[in-house]
Symmetry: D2
Subunit: 402 residues, 4 copies
């Protein structure tokens, strides 16, 4: 369960090692080709994720703060900057998959070069601002760990062989269904957002009060079985259930099921299968549905006579411990557009571009997914995607006025 408790303190150097190692573990089973592929502009190659997270430390920590540091390769600043305008020009995003060079191996050497230098930096006494930047870099790398998984699954879904990204992966145990219930939460003024102490992204702050009307929220995520009922009832064929642009997306993309659902061949009774990190697997009806867009989540809720919770409602319920399955299966679409909190002020410098400039046309997701690194998500965490995106592990939970 997501909590407000801080992770047990470990030394920054040790945490450094853990996070960096986890990235390399994720990439360990991938061939050089696997690491190079990019299947859509939204996605990035695994090799790029490995290099870009490394560039973040080089650019924002080593160059300004480690005396005598020499860049591994000056060209990498151009190749592996993602979107930081203040950090200079950069390689166009849709062409990341064309970077066959540097090789995955060279990227490994780049990582080692930066790791060595970072270890030197971390052994020094550091100003608070620098420590914060290291932590930001680690959190940033954790975000890219999740993207590495989802981006590669997307690329593999185009391969008729449907390769397994992590052959030994297994579904997290489904939450118990016995307790499924709409939980009533009284209204009133609630505290929203992250306090000043402890790590949080800028978009989680400032902590502020919000006024909520009474509402109910479901203790459990919507499951695959429930989604099948929606489909059986013509959910993808009834325009009245959908936002106008959602219905246009249904028709334009031919959506008739969540992303990655495929009917098995006839020898398997045509049952639903689903692309997973372990390749194609039979659909588990008790598992939370995933790979649905906001449009689909919104239509499902309307079909069910309910609605998506706002992010404030979600956070208030989570703070009360009502959302036992949150953070372990899917990011949960909320009814809230991604906009700045009252009094939001991005930090000075290039890291100020981290979140603020995406606060338009996107919707907030809360919780965390099976691909989120274990110590990464927080109760106040604000994830965000465009309402038509489906390649993340995204699902939903229902709410209503009660």
């Amino acid at each position: 369960m997501l909590t407000l408790e801080e992770a047990p303190p470990i030394s920054l150097a040790r945490r450094w090692r853990q996070v960096r190692d986890r990235t390399e573990d994720l990439a360990a089973s991938l061939s050089p080709e696997d690491q190079c592929v990019q299947s859509m502009p939204d996605a990035s190659p695994a090799k790029w994720h490995r290099a870009h997270t490394t560039w973040f430390f080089e650019q924002f920590l080593l160059v300004p703060h480690l005396s005598g540091y020499r860049r591994f390769d000056p060209a990498f600043a151009y190749l592996f900057n993602s979107y930081y305008e203040q950090a200079g020009p950069r390689h166009a995003r849709p062409y990341r998959g064309l970077l066959t060079r540097p090789s995955a191996e060279e990227v490994g050497a780049y990582r080692a070069h930066v790791d060595t230098a970072m270890e030197r930096l971390l052994a020094q006494p550091l100003a608070g601002g620098v420590v914060d930047l290291v932590e930001l870099g680690l959190q940033h790398e954790q975000q890219h760990q999740e993207l590495l998984v989802t981006d590669l699954m997307h690329a593999f879904s185009f391969n008729p062989l449907r390769p397994a990204l992590a052959p030994g992966w297994s579904e997290p145990p489904a939450p118990s269904r016995e307790e499924a219930a709409m939980r009533s939460i009284e209204g009133g003024i609630v505290r929203i957002g992250a306090l000043h102490s402890g790590f949080a992204f800028d978009n989680e702050r400032p902590c502020h009060d919000a006024l909520l009307a009474p509402f109910r929220i479901c203790s459990q995520l919507v499951t695959n079985a429930e989604w099948c009922a929606f489909m059986a009832d013509g959910g993808y064929r009834q325009p009245l259930l959908w936002m106008s642009e959602g219905w246009a997306a249904v028709q334009q993309n031919g959506w008739d099921a969540p992303m990655y659902w495929e009917r098995a061949g006839e020898q398997h009774d045509g049952a639903w299968q689903q692309m997973t990190p372990a390749g194609m697997r039979p659909l588990d009806p008790t598992a939370p549905v995933r790979h649905v867009s906001w449009y689909e989540a919104d239509a499902f809720a309307r079909w069910a006579g309910k609605r998506l919770p706002t992010e404030q409602e979600w956070e208030a319920a989570a703070r009360r411990g009502q959302l036992a399955d949150a953070g372990r299966f899917v990011w949960e679409w909320t009814g809230s557009a991604y906009r700045p909190y009252p009094g939001f002020r991005p930090p000075e410098g290039a890291v100020g571009e981290y979140n603020g400039k995406f606060m338009i046309n996107t919707m907030v997701l809360r919780g965390g997914s099976l691909a989120t690194p274990p110590d990464h998500a927080r109760l106040t965490y604000r994830n965000f995607f465009h309402p038509d995106r489906r390649w993340q592990f995204t699902g939903l939970r229902l709410a209503d006025e009660g």
Copy 2:
């Protein structure tokens, strides 16, 4: 100034006549060709506006409520339904400009046919629900009156002759600049939205409480002169001022000034001119800037060290009479995404499709413009457009935390 006061009561029949006549007055100076043209999918031909607003009464009032009513032409239900899924299939929006037939004259006959029948209906004792539907139809027609103006100006802007839609039109007198000031508003719980009595669109309800932090809001709209300062300071060339998708829009569309601004020829010193309902006119530096997108408004506010007000802040300030120039010049972009109010419930039936299905990817505008019918806008009115749209009379007002 926008107020909460109701318009003085007049009989529904008289109000009917006033609204319907105003539409025909707007179209009176237009040639049949002018009435047929459609310059982009977002816009509709004047003739279509005239017919669609008429269809609304035929479809939702006359067919169900006037016994013995006969449709003017059964094909019109297909031709002039805009987006009501429950009212059946309809002509595709981007092809409205291809409807050279029925002619503008036949549309006039259609209007007369429906007017006669409606007058019969209005002479009968009507249930409250029916009266409400008539009022909704009139409000709907008023919305299309504004669109008729903006859509035709858009079409005319493609004509090298730059015709005048309303040759006798003149700018509304600019607001006095002496009082321009940031007005402080204390925080607390404020009432938002329309009360149950009196007409309001469904999206203005339910009336509810919201909690605001203290803020400041400018008593005056941003002017053309201020916008010129933004341009002179490189506002359109600094990516850090812009949302990521706003910057992409700047580059893709080559934006370097508000829509409809053009440099006059050399014999006129190259001064800025602006497309208006009366054709090209010199830019008035003291007038509120208009035809800017949300992206531009947001970037301007960041450049000015301020931000856009939320719609709740705007409404709270307007209720206190702090926004003297609101409603007369431009719709004002707010920082609020267009989402349902807590407890929002669209009405039953096809008119339930009126607003709700557009509550995604759009931003709220408040106030009203020089093209808004005089008795149409309300303090609680929620207009909405996508953040990249510029063909409406859209401007902005600044706010900050104080």
Copy 3:
């Protein structure tokens, strides 16, 4: 039958009047809206055709050759130039339909103004080059007469009312089928193209020799009944019958019948109907098929075990009087790409842009259609369109090696 004989000589002034009047006759039944609409970039509004053909005379005859001539309106040179780079900048083609002004009536006044001036010019003794230019302008206007019909039919096909462009129009009597036969033509050197005397477009010259192998060509055009057999045999579903890009066009556009074919409602047994100048009409199985693209014509020929004739074969057969039905029903797709004849040299000046710059990616059509002005087509005439276009009256005739 198309022949090599010249039309009986009439005075240029009389011919002038005939051609100009015919344009106005074609437009006479059209409303101002009908004349303004443009349904795709390839098509132009009727009003534009009327004005552009007039501009041709103003630009290339009156301004250089009639002393004291004053342009009707200087802006028209910009509005109604089609593609003559040497005649200056011009209004973008896809926006022609946005020109609600000048009105159809003003275009009528423009035509009258130019007519009066041209009559003055024609009353003077004229140099041979000037006479040739007048004739070119008349031939040009005749080409636009055909386009006026096809463009407006295209626009009307988007109107659910399927209006009739020429309500009194009737199909030309179908050719007798008794004589249908493959006619053998021996090989050898044949003369191709127009002699120096008499009018011809630059692309029909120079007259030159070509070497043909023996071949056979059908005395009759492919009919609707034959096309139905192709469809019934799965012609639109067998990729092996199609050029690679033709098959892509089938799939992308969902082609499963010629353009403008529609199934009648159930009360009419679902029989095929076809959009014609007189609106929707039952399909006549004995009539030559029309509104097929080159891709479809080519696939049909392959299905029939034959091929399209080359333009040289077509011309050789026509010169021998073997193609009795040519020129009266449809333009006939040939197997020849549209390229310059050996020694082709466009004339000096802006009229040199008339044909040459379109000699790429287009295919030659020969003959003439039901919409071609009676004295316009010639045995050596080379029409041309892209292989995916269908809105002209285009059909085919079969050939083989014999």
Copy 4:
């Protein structure tokens, strides 16, 4: 010089080994990532070229003709079929670059598997049709050898590091300029196309007579220096030099020089450099220009007061030994659209799809390039590409009427 002489006969088994080895030699310096990348739908990954050429032998030789042959992997028929409809469904072309698996190494194993089986087949007595198919497969593989080079250069051109595909590559020695001259060729009937004996693609047959008017053709290819003169004279800015669609391509793509030309940085005087198989190299003014589209070649010829030769003229001149530099530098755009020869008949079966279905919207190129395998091109060879393509080694030679 290209000749009509046959290559000296070597055993099919030995030729088999030579061609197959050359493919692997080309790929030898490429990393697994390099082999996987696809930079546009027209291009294919190196790994795909290696596998597809192998599939050709498996599909058309081993499966039908080697008893007991077992496919290496049944999925490969789907993955590595290019466009043979008769050989079943296939992986969509634009997604070839997403096939990170099978790996380059597995493709190597696939090649070895097929090589072993083919050697067994070639050791058997073979029917003539089978021998022809083997030769077709080898010619096919040679075509892909050239594509492998051009496709990878295209991908590398997107990499800011501008990698070298073949670091040791050097320009072929430029042809001597002393003899540059327009050579007159008298007209008359000439023989065109390949005789029945010896290998030729189906599109080179049947051999037939053509009638040519007298013409002149330049003994030398257009050089980089000549192209620079065209550029300096505003060649890319004068619409009158261009085909209408060529001019549109110039404006849409921003063409102002041949593909792969880049200005060096200021420290190198801003001189032109050019992407080559060995990476960026200074432009050699005496070398034949390459990487120009047909549109550019056509515009250059018009600027020079000349034209492109037809493919028949080219072949007639080549047969007379007038084109000393043909076949060694660039494929030469001709003025001929790619259409079937008189009496063309594709072979039965899937290999009948080899050429015929591309005979529309493409232009013929003759000769051969620096990337063409040495024993591959023939005097009668007909290469073809769309007129806007530039990534092949394409140039031109001038002709006129003399």
